[in-house]
Amino acid sequence: MGSSAERPDGRLKVSGEFAFSSDLWADDMLWGATLRSPHPRARVLRIDITGAVALPGVYAVLTHQDVPGSLHYGLEILDQPVLAIDEVCYEGEPVAIVAADHPETARRAAARIRVEYEPLPPVVDASAALLAGALLAGSHLDSNLVRHVPIRKGDPDATAEVVVAGDYEVGMQDQAFLGPESGLAVPAEDGGVDLFVATQWLHVDRRQVAACLGLPEPLVRLTLAGVGGAFGAREDLSMQVHACMLALRTRRPVKMVYSREESFYGHVHRHPATLHYEHGATRDGTLVYVKARIVLDGGAYASSSPAVCANAATLGIGPYAVPNVVMDTYAVYTNNPPCGAMRGFGAVQACFGYESQMDKLAGALGIDPVQLRLRNALSTGDTMPTGQVVEGPAPVAELLHRVSAAPPPSGLDILPGGVANTTHGEGVVRGVGYAVSIKNVGFSEGFDDFATARVRLEVVGGVPAALVHTAAAEVGQGLVTVLGQIARTELGVEQVTIATADTSVGSAGSTSASRQTYVTGGAVRAACVAIREKLLARAGVPLPELDLVDLLGDDAIEETVEWRHRPTHPLDPATGQGDAHVQYAFAAHRVTVDVDTELGLVKVVQIATAQDVGKAMNPLAVVGQIQGGTAQGLGLALMEEIQVRDGLVRNPSFTDYLIPTILDMPPMHVDVLELADPYAPYGLRGVGEPPTISSTPAIVAALRAATGRPLTRVPVRPDDILESDPHS
């Protein structure tokens, strides 16, 4: 534990032998394709599949009439049709599916399906959608409100000597994992189906797939195929039910692989948000109150919007101690693309708002932005806006001190514009900005958040060997490495195998909310401890003195454990008070930028990050999470936005939706703190999300410091930076 053990899947991944979900193949396999709505909102009047069925090589063409079970699915609310019934509510909504002997044949057949639509005016403005009398985003709705989370703490009428207010906006970000949605469904002789798929939570997929197929859950068996990144985009179903329907209908294995364009339509995105904040402080910079209103555009279906809304609300003032808070956060239905989970999950949008405000307040007070943050930094024993007392380390001030003291940028001096040689330094100014973030770890608000682990110890080939079996999704983060490290440490054996994740073992919960090492790691540790106790009872001597080979003989010891973190509690629906979260995690960023003020071009010169991880289970993997998360935050700050106009996505490709390249990323200095959380296994703290949250506002703070521009919207566009608007 605590060493940078090598990934067990690493050798296969560097040699090209690792089987991702899009690499699967079966004898006699067919290819699936999906026909999607071209309209953000329309009535479906008629679907004529005859042209598609007539195409040679086509084996099945299915519509909503062919869905064997529940016509709808969803993570929290069953509102999303498996295939459109009489209405489409967003561009890209699946309407029909095809199986054919070649992917091109399947696509051509889908194009020959004739759908008669009656286009309706789409609801595209989330704030307007909340007003009384607003058009509804679907005929199944009686209101466009998904959820409202109010937060009321202290005196709602508190006043302050210095007040700053601001309006902020966050664009729609895409997870943009590289491995597209894909999987292989194989019909089974027992009438069930085996699905090999890239997902974040096998059991919640199975629950929804079985219901839609009208099958008992034991007949729907899911196995995790290689996952090419996730970042939240695989929490919702994509091709799962469709591939199974086609396989059960044709009695042949069916593979579905989304193209990049289809992937942009095939998964939920990060909620775009509008945020209004008012901060009141004393003249010496002590925060007196925060009032805020956040509107999150959830798009056409609920997905995980209710939980995203709660996160934005409960974490909405940041890692600061503030006695008085009045905050209202809304998630709203529109006919824009559905939004749901993405790394940072509601905390990202809020952080851009509250950290922009902290800089604005520092400016109004004439105080250094870091000093203002230090003066108000949350620490152990302080209360959150929900009334929850922060337990365990809360080293917000320490993280700020550390990034402030990080080494300055050195070496590489690529100017804005890079190799395009647009400047030799003239018009280039430098700026430095800071931000801190807070994130909850694990599922909140009373959710029964558990993981199951089955560990088996036996002698194999003359040496003791452990087999660790969970249903937890390895998505790239290195969970399989850490689970192996836990088993080696707890059992004292070298030989540990991580079994393929599948539904033949109990649920491990979701690979999200930075929770898997905490919860499934906790379950594996508990299973190992149970095995150890059995061994000790059998031997009567301490573990280090045991000869496992002698003691085990031909026996195997197997333990299956369901492990839970401490319970959390719901929020009071009127006041937002409640101990809703199990653990908080913190990160801080310092960013240095160079800006070409004549062209609006930006080069991030260096990013310094400090993060408390409780215990660095695998330091190389921890730093990898922090650097990768920081990069996604840079993307949101400077380039990543799904452009939606009138409900239509304008840039569904990697040509038009830009993610950071190696030329966009600066050197990153990472400082890892290990302050143990007394309640968590090994003292660890979730790692994956905090770095994504604060890197965005830190970059924008640096841009403001360089340019003096207000920059209230991310991603920041060149025109936002220019000293004067060239069009005026």
């Binding site: 050798r11 070649h102 590289l178 650097q627 990768g628 998360g629 950071p660 390249t661 190696i662």
Partner: protein, 147 residues
């Protein structure tokens, strides 16, 4: 149509190829070589980088017929494991979807420039997207492989 080419040193043949198929599709779906990845089909991400007659190309942008009578080397056929080993040791592999394309690109870079500086590494790998790492460990891997 039939496509005949040399893949990883072996003569290979694919029958019934639809003329719209890419080299990437033929490698992955007809020749049993799925190590080369498909992530964008637009030549933007570099996940499908292979050698075509010794030049690194995006296999998604090469029509299958263009590979006729030519030599293709994929991740499965790369000699030696210096670059692969460096990726593992540096922690440059997370989900691994970009890794085969990056390994080919780094292999090509080090063949041309045995000791690249950071600027040369960044320019050489600017066509390979990675969503997991933020690229720091990929730079580490290249430095390690070049040392």
């Amino acid at each position: 149509m039939r496509v005949t080419c040399t893949v990883n040193g072996e003569p290979r043949e694919a029958d019934d190829v639809w003329p719209g198929e890419s080299l990437l599709y033929v490698l992955r779906e007809r020749l049993g070589l799925p190590g080369t990845k498909n992530a964008c089909e637009q030549g933007e991400c570099g996940s499908c980088t292979v050698y075509l007659d010794g030049e690194p190309v995006c296999a998604c942008l090469v029509a299958a017929g263009q590979a006729q009578d030519r030599s293709v080397v994929t991740i499965e056929g790369l000699p030696g494991d210096r670059v692969q080993r460096a990726f593992l040791e540096a922690g440059a592999v997370q989900c691994g979807f970009c890794t085969p394309g990056l390994v080919v690109a780094v292999h090509d870079l080090l063949a041309r420039v045995p000791h690249p500086d950071d600027r040369e590494i960044r320019e050489a790998l600017a066509g390979n997207l990675c969503r997991c790492t933020g690229y720091e460990t990929i730079l580490d891997a290249v430095r390690l492989a070049a040392s």
